[in-house]
């Protein structure tokens, strides 16, 4: 397992009950012309990348995938098909070529899912209301 040291941290959203761990993510279009800094709630129950509301998606979806690659997610209310676009993300200084997604039908919301979370070393420090990146302590 090893010993880790916490680096940069994002503060939980405290306007919701209970407070929600978030990641501060800078999302940029492939051309670099559009950029948004988002505080995305962490959702380990979402298998996808970065789910965004439709208006954010409209701004950042400069390069959208063909419809045959639109993913379908299983929810308690049935399957939801998402649009998906290529973006570049920066999370705690780490740059990722990744995707944003939004439902084809309905408005969407802001969430960061496991396909991004699994590429990061994170610690959720609940009592401190912070989510921090971890570095191996060498």
């Amino acid at each position: 397992m090893g010993i880790y040291r916490a680096g940069q941290c994002s503060n939980h959203q405290t306007g919701v009950a209970p407070a929600h761990p978030v990641l501060k993510i800078t999302v940029e279009t492939p051309s670099g012309r559009e950029r948004e800094v988002l505080e995305a709630p962490i959702d380990t129950g979402f298998a996808g990348f970065l789910l965004t509301p439709a208006d954010v998606y409209a701004k950042l979806s400069e390069l959208e995938l063909p419809q045959e690659y639109f993913p379908a997610y299983l929810t308690l209310a049935g399957s939801i098909i998402m649009r998906r676009a290529k973006v570049r993300m920066r999370v705690f200084g780490k740059v990722l070529d990744s995707f944003i997604e939004t439902p084809v039908v309905s408005f969407g919301r802001l969430l960061v899912g496991r396909r991004i979370l699994n590429s990061l070393s994170l610690a959720i420090l609940g009592p401190d209301l912070q989510t921090c990146e971890l570095h191996p302590a060498s």
Binding site: A47, P66, E68, Y69
Partner: protein, 152 residues
Amino acid sequence: MVDEKVYHRVSINARLRKLDVIIRGVSPRAYREFKARAAKLGLKLRDALRQAIESYAAAGPAVTSVLADPNNETYEKMRPELLKKYYGKHVAIANGKLVAVADSLQELGAMLRELNITRALGLQVGHEQGGEAGEWLWGSIAQDNVRTTRRE
């Protein structure tokens, strides 16, 4: 959902001109979900499946396309050519034509900027994944916007 290997035989009740159909290749997850939804609607599985097939057939070819998009139509037409000529490359289609081919997403982004294209269809040919992408379960329940004035 319907596998190519569909076996059918004429029902004993030929007067109704209905078929008994065996469908192979359905994922267990999709099957469970379908069964649960049928039960929720008070339908027998066979009736739900019959309704689904009939409604799909009635909807016609439009159901295969989620949104009307000329770039997507161009992609559909060009797909065999893209796979043959540009496998592994990053490509962009805009205004109904192929506008950029690059070795990386970064390079493709620079080309879009140079061409002043703000909206395109893009992919790394032969490397993208779609279809069933997993679940979105717990979060959809837990993250309803319950606002509060209380600070924690």
